[in-house]
Symmetry: D2
Subunit: 273 residues, 4 copies
């Protein structure tokens, strides 16, 4: 279990394969294991780096500690130095994309290219209050209620319907987890760590080549949030997945990983047309 | 308090003004009072008819009774006969639009034109499970949690943010209500009455001139649901409100009532171009 | 033939019916006759006012004269004074919408509400060069070439295909017209009068309640142009017609006239929600 | 100059680099040279194969010969056999994408994956008549008129405006070419070869993993055309470029080549999520 020390905490990471490194940053409910399905694809051409944020997976639990995205961004900086990653592409999904934006802003030399999937430059009142509902229901330890609250909204209705059997299996796996105090305490802190997120006035300083992935049916970080990012970033490239919800990486995994690897590995970034 | 008897129940309605009648059907959390702001606009040219569905507003509570949309559609038929409404336009929002579709299918002669705002032809697994989350949280009588669960998702994030003060007032009004057993029992039954809703294979039989209003940021009845309706209906006219969420009637009231009154009162429906 | 004198020119107009007046402004190839199909609908509730711009229909030909939108906007001002129109709604389609914007900017008291369908706040290089193609082909007096150049692009591909017979009739009517020097000289000047159109930096001053109608498949004034207008105008209300092209008034006439009459006649414009 | 004989004709092609082959198929006005800017990117990981269709670039002129997409698809089959290409990805832009669809339908074993950018499954009346305008103006040998007719409509208005200088250079290069009989005769035949294109009832038989690239501002093969393809194809993956027009490959070259290389080189196509 590869870990490194960051401040008083342990951070779990995985590094596999060879070639230009790609660091995958988890959404709020994800962990390093969430990327397993993409492992073969990534290591066929790149070094795959994964990390659990504080309060995720095998990284330290933050019982009794209040923190925000800044701490997670510092953690990334420390990890990148620790692993001596060069020519790095960072791929961040939702929460991970939000930390990736902040990290790129404060540590611009750490990273060469960015892929932001279903992320936002700030936590609006709207998203804040949705998060508060999650936390309130989480505290009841009613796993079924939490599932019905937090899971459908992650997917497009089309995917949720077509993958009925798969969703039912997800329910069987997730409800017991959602019913535990341990899980809910971590989720609570992770949600709280996002409340203050707002770098709208600063992101124009990010000059990295950036791929911005939106989904038409994203009900957590809706299209207007990615449009805001694209409008501010000098080197943004924007795609919309018209059939997906917030969890584009699971809803069309081939398309997701094609976008990531294509963008991370593009030899040239400027073209004479 | 005008009421009429329908089967064993009392149904509350209001009828005001003169001219071609327009019957407004409430969304699931609404009541006849929800249309007050539009009263002046409607009665300046039309007869305004409002009704509380069973388990809404001043209509009968259905304690201990299981029902579905069919009963609400029958209720509409009885109301229209009772009031002897002719050349009627029915405007249904969300739940109301879904009952309106069913009613138009089974009682086509009752109605001349339809306006469906943010409605769907069926309850997908996705929407069903969202409803189950509402019911689970409702049972806890935690009004704040219920608000954070059910209210943000009704609005576009843009509206929710820009109307911060108004939303905080909504919270003050709604949280006490959401904390009552009486409200939650009715909401629970209304949500349950929608679970079996599915008229996808039948709606092609609806031949009425129909205005279908979609919102780009509708997170309960997303755009694909209205596209499905438009594809099936012979005489559908489709508009998308690119700045709104599920509650388009509150998010852009002038646009909403313009659409309704313009469509209800259009003298011709066929044009030689 | 009602005409009035404006500077050295004659301006043809029609005024019919009673009630709050609505002035319809033609697109570049249209004339007062283009609104005939809507006459019954409009005069059932409103005073219908139509006008041919200079170089359109029965208004003066501008042989040898160079002009721009300012002159057409002055003409509107003179017409409104001449007819003593009060509480006026102006509905402008494409070219007509562009003149309507300029007129509202310079003569704000002339008008109460605006409806802009498929219009833009400026003539981009892109639209300028499309106009130049029209003029170049116009000069050849090859009516079929002009038709194939200028007509398909006005409609959505869906409408053009579904209305095959109607389009073929349009061809029979329009090709002889497009083959005349008289028509082409006027079109040439009208196109040229638009080249300098650019009020992007000023339109934020327009405070009128404004309905902005966009079409998803508008290939002359694409969606981004109406988004620009909506972003600048304080009181804009935006709808997208997802099935239409540039000629939304012909592609869905019931929807178009419902939007116009609903918005023009809405009693209230502010709502307490 | 590598050529091979196909029936009575010479076909020009280029093959460079190593690795899984990617065959790029030109849009109607393009040639093998149009892909030069992507050469470095492609050959860094793949074998780059380019080909001029009949009547394009260095391939045979078809003076006096009538043909359709079937002949171009046969040509592809012959080329693939000639070069013994295995595990092939075909990338087709517009005309090239349309031939690619037909080729995949009739020679499914030739190809493993498909990328279709801004292509359609048929030539609607609408697109047919636009093509006829091109041909009519082409015959006049007025290069400027042809440019204004055919070039703006290829790009989004945003790109056309922002790249003002680049567009003016394009004009200088293209107008002389557009003024030649040789170019116009070839374009005329290429346009005519597309008129009969319609494989809407057959494309559901295509089972290849297919990436479908749409642009929101595509005024030649609008979004609805790619939606039609996606609806029919079993293994379609759909992205929309919200800032681009028909020429997405030039408007966002980094995004275009990322999509192509990412999709062509994805190791897995099925994922256990």
């Amino acid at each position: 279990m590869p870990k490194f020390n960051f401040k008083d905490y342990e951070v779990y990471y995985e590094i596999e394969g060879e070639g230009r490194p790609i660091l995958f940053l988890n959404g709020i409910m994800m962990s390093t294991a969430s990327w397993n399905t993409f492992k073969n694809s990534v290591i066929s051409s790149n070094t795959l780096v994964r990390v659990d944020f504080l309060d995720q997976g095998y990284s330290s639990r933050m019982d009794g500690i209040t923190y925000d995205h800044n701490l997670q961004a510092e953690l990334l900086h420390a990890l990148i130095e620790h692993l001596e990653l060069k020519h790095l592409t960072i791929v961040g999904v939702s929460y991970g994309g939000e930390v990736a934006l902040r990290h790129a802003l404060y540590y611009p030399k750490d990273v060469e290219r960015l892929v932001l999937a279903n992320a936002a430059a700030w936590t609006s009142n709207w998203l804040r209050d949705i998060g508060r509902a999650w936390n309130a229901v989480g505290k009841t330890l009613d796993g079924d209620a939490y599932y019905d609250l937090a899971i459908p909204v992650i997917y497009s209705s089309k995917f949720y319907q077509e993958k009925e059997e798969w969703m039912e299996n997800r329910r069987k796996v997730l409800v017991p987890l959602f019913s535990t105090k341990a899980f809910q305490e971590r989720m609570n802190r992770l949600v709280n760590s996002s409340e203050s997120h707002d770098i709208r006035t600063e992101i124009h300083k990010i000059k990295h080549e950036t791929l911005v992935i939106s989904s038409l049916y994203d009900c957590l970080t809706p299209l207007c949030e990615q449009e805001l990012i694209v409008k501010e970033l000098k080197n943004a490239h924007h795609v919309i997945l018209p059939h997906c919800g917030h969890a584009s990486m699971y809803e069309d995994p081939l398309l997701f990983i094609s976008l990531v690897l294509g963008f991370a590995n593009a030899k040239d970034t400027k073209f004479v047309i």
